[in-house]
Symmetry: C2
Subunit: 225 residues, 2 copies
Amino acid sequence: MKKIQIIEDDAALRRELRILLEGEGYAVVETEDYENLAAEIMKSEADLILLDINLPGINGEELLRRFRKEKQTPVIMLTSRTSETDEVLSMSYGADDYITKPYNPTILLLRIAAVFRRMNLTGNVLSWGGLSVHPAKGIISNGEKEIVLTKNEMIIFEVLYAKAGQIVSRDELMTALWDNEEYVNDNALTVNISRLRNKLAELGCDGAVETRKKQGYILWNSENM
Amino acid sequence: MKKIQIIEDDAALRRELRILLEGEGYAVVETEDYENLAAEIMKSEADLILLDINLPGINGEELLRRFRKEKQTPVIMLTSRTSETDEVLSMSYGADDYITKPYNPTILLLRIAAVFRRMNLTGNVLSWGGLSVHPAKGIISNGEKEIVLTKNEMIIFEVLYAKAGQIVSRDELMTALWDNEEYVNDNALTVNISRLRNKLAELGCDGAVETRKKQGYILWNSENM
DNA sequence: GTGGATTATTACAAAATTGTAATGGAACGC
DNA sequence: GCGTTCCATTACAATTTTGTAATAATCCAC
């Protein structure tokens, strides 16, 4: 469950947000200690932070700027002012998004969802249809079963995944695997593709990697299979 | 250089955008073939797409929805309408951001920069201070030199990186490496940390991984070193 | 359909990865 | 300071990964 931290001095608004977010299935943490806010926020373990730009005695943008130097947790700024300068400043200090009060609840939820969607495209774990992919670990899992890919297999998968649905040439894969080649047997790629296919088949993803003779390979979105 | 594709029927606005974006150092591709737009856009090799929601004879949201099924390229929607329903629809169909016309050039540029910043946190490559990190390949490079980490070393680095500047317990690292453990010698972690340190030292990152006795390890941002 | 080019599969040996164990060093309490 | 605990280092053997080569299967042109 995703944890969202609300940093907002208006108690009524905090409560409103909590109800909205919890209703959507998020865990909510409220921050009230504005004395040590800077220290607090650095230790935050939330997955996303909603930060009021206009806290008593605190410069929200400056806080964000310092936070960004150390942490990558996504931040959505809240403001009651509508000046565009605010938005410019917030974004340039590394906010991930910006919402003006009074806010539309649906839009807030969608913007939060969009942030998480983008996180998910990145971070440690990719998602491929219903499967989750952990590049560093070399693991692809469908919840029940998981397969362990070797480094080469993972590199191939990653390149194909980045261009899912498009043909990726053997040359491009070769370059990704062995850079500006100390020449490697052409067949080494074929062998590695074969090994990748065998493992994907264990997850029921037979046919996920398709051959286009003289052109390359295509990975199909596991959703469309 | 980042490539941005503009899909917009108003020629004057297209020109304006091109000048703005090229001035900022982006490469710009304009699309004019609205007949085969759906096919065009699927083949796009741009790093980001600016998509007018209101094209002649085309439903921008529907186009986006279908695009999102196959590709992850970030999309910022442009609209002249100001209805909140538009925003709700666009975001729920997978837009990464939403800009209303007339737009503020500075804000557009910042939102584009924010999208790229987020991409960079993710995708295939992480950045760690001045270094670039490729989890699947197990490579960390500083432009001059590059080191090749093994899978275990990369997993450790990734966990430490995700909490850079914070103490990460040995337990947390053990769990990341060997899950709910078929018990592995406690020392295996120590050995792998040691091997990681040796390799980081080759990049001049001595001391990047610090021991906190009885507590765990800390990775320091390579910028602060 | 036959030949030639392209991709697949299998088995194997060289190389890399990884846990273990044995030894050494550093910090801390007393 | 001494002993104990916690972490670091080194060397080594078992396992895994990976390129190669030999052979088989597939596809396309003609």
